[in-house]
Symmetry: none
Subunit: 219 residues, 4 copies
DNA sequence: TATGAATGAGAATTCATTCAT
DNA sequence: AATGAATGAATTCTCATTCAT
């Protein structure tokens, strides 16, 4: 269990955990297992890992895993939920007063990419599990629907629009790339996503400008 | 084993096979296993199936599997190669004299989608395994490179360009959709792909026109 | 823990317990666990239940089990002892002055069946664990020995006699049956038991008459 | 796998098996596992053994067990069926022309006891699993029903009658006893069973005489 | 070549038991 | 005394792989 909120699970996981279980509550252990699992999923994908991998990574007994999760799938879902909730909550205030769905979409996407840049494990995890989480998907759908209704994008099939946006993001995250120029790359991908959806070039430019500003303020 | 080359593996697989193995050659059995495996991969993805699934689907003994393949991965590769070789060979004559890389890309993509429409199992397989095969990827990269060099697309990172194109295709194939209007949908997806890559609207329109013509001639 | 000694463990066990543990003494908790365990044993037999089953039934933590018992076997023994002591003590006064071993046996058996009729869980428990308890067995052996010595029964092997009597009782209790006519059924079984042991018909009739009287007085 | 039909599974099981698997067919291995399992069940009862016990006893891999049975329960059922089928088939010719249900019952019971005497493992198995097999139970019920209809026994509840007969047999087999005088003991138990069911003393005597004759002829 | 049978390695799952609070 | 958490030792179950026919 991390002693400070930013300490990350790493090679010292097991030891770290052992020294900390004294004051560990159930929720903390659960969160700890999830954090460690994210690394495992990021590295090996959603299908390869076996329960022992998660137990070892978290420094707990295999049977302890079952105290918290029944299947690796359940753990995966919990991990996805944890991560996307995190990102979603960071997006909410930024788009609170924003009515333009293109900007909302771009902002949401940027926050995902931003976190992926800051935390490469998060990026790898996202690419690996091919999901932005149920909550993230819900928000994205709402914005896509609004964009369609307002004639902002030319792809009118919302399922297809969602697939395209997600496909671009997932495959972009999956593709290995240098960490420098990461931001330019993210902007490029977001731009490509909006173009793919059929947003007009001016709207795309506007959205990208907004992102740049947001980021300046955020840092 | 199919008696005619277009018979498809289905519920009568095992029986069908048994009656045919008398005159079966090695190559035919191998091809038969691959055909059946495609169905399995299409339905369950590349990781879930176990060897027994392929053996059952093909109506052969588990141990027979080892006569032809060493691992499920090897079978997967063979299946991908088989399918994409098929498509690639159908693309080659169509783009033989075509120098415009946008048109070449669009044509190649269209042939994939076209086969996916005609043979939904192929489409499901492609979406499931997230690959267009090494040969297909090679062709796509060559065309992408040319497009970048000729300033036809604005995304200059070829790896990223490839990821985006593949991501859109795979997720589009993965998304369930009605079979009517399948062609319009494919055109939409190809258009979105070219737009994502940053091709100019006139070039995109030109490419789409070409596709329509090709299809007319092909049928 | 039951607030009155006749309250039975049921669906409200856990809640009931929680509200009562405030003033609970060690002995009471122990008795409560045993009572709940009887239900569990009655339903699932002596081998199937795991410690968690008893803890859940009693509404206590698994680890609390260990404060009172070391193994499920120990709990089983305690449960058997509790129940049979109960019955034995009700038999003692009825046969205090009775010297006829056939009547003593019949009376003892009847008290077991009687309790099984009044408390079906007791009956199910007895049939399930195949035991009348060490004290009950001791009494039964003494009476059987006397019966053999006095030539009242034709089976002279006391171990066999005991097995037969117990076998009949256990299997009779195990067999599902309607609750009406339960008494006639019990009389029939006792009669069959005495006949199996080789008691003479007149002695059997006499013993059954005695039982009928006893029961009238007892109610 | 036994080389001769009477060789019994014993300490040399594993070796014996290994040398024999050359010509072993599926049915033979299955039968071999069942034979070895009977010993295990006889010694430890139906609940205690784990799959590894059966595998070890038969000298096969744990996974081989799963080729033949899914659960220990399934193996138990197969073992019961195997054994009782064996006994039933030996009873059939003896009672083929016999219409008196008392004699039929006594003969059937005797054949069970007889085999238990000849093969103590069989006896221990029977006592341990408390079952004479579905086929045996079916025959017994038919004879009991006939006996009730013809007024040959005083217990008219067929379920109860069956329970009593089975209870006596099982507990008698369960009780340890010297192997000498085994036949007298069996006769005693059968006599007790018929008496318990309420057969008249003359009929009981007649049935026992019949048994004695049968046995003389059989040997 | 095709196969049924057997298997060992490993992965999933259960459960009795301990311990700090 | 009671408990929630953690755990290690079985135990169950799966599956890739080998082998003799």
């Amino acid at each position: 269990m991390p002693k400070t909120k930013h300490s990350e699970p790493d090679v010292a996981k097991a030891e770290h955990h052992r020294t900390a279980i004294g004051q560990a509550q159930r929720a903390k252990t659960r969160a700890w297992i999830i954090q460690c699992a994210i690394h495992v999923f990021a590295e090996h994908g959603p299908d390869a890992p076996v329960i022992d991998d998660f137990a070892k990574a978290a420094g707990v007994a295999r049977s302890t895993f079952y105290t918290y999760f029944q299947t690796t799938r359940e753990l995966l879902d919990a991990a996805v939920a944890t991560l996307s909730d995190d990102v979603i909550s960071s997006i909410a205030p930024l788009v609170a007063g924003e009515s333009d769905p293109i900007i909302r979409l771009a902002t949401g996407a940027w926050m995902y990419y931003r976190k992926a840049i800051v935390d490469p494990v998060f990026g790898a995890f996202l690419g690996s599990v091919s999901s932005i989480g149920p909550l993230g998907a819900e928000h994205a759908r709402a914005d896509l629907r609004a964009a369609i209704e307002q004639g902002e994008i030319t792809i009118h099939d919302i399922d297809l629009a969602e697939s395209i946006a997600l496909g671009i993001m997932v495959f972009a995250l999956r593709t290995p790339h240098a960490s420098d120029h990461a931001k330019e790359r993210a902007i490029t991908v977001i731009s490509a996503t909006l173009a793919a959806l059929g947003a007009s070039p001016p709207r795309i430019r506007k959205a990208l400008r907004k992102i740049e500003q947001l980021d300046l303020g955020a840092r």
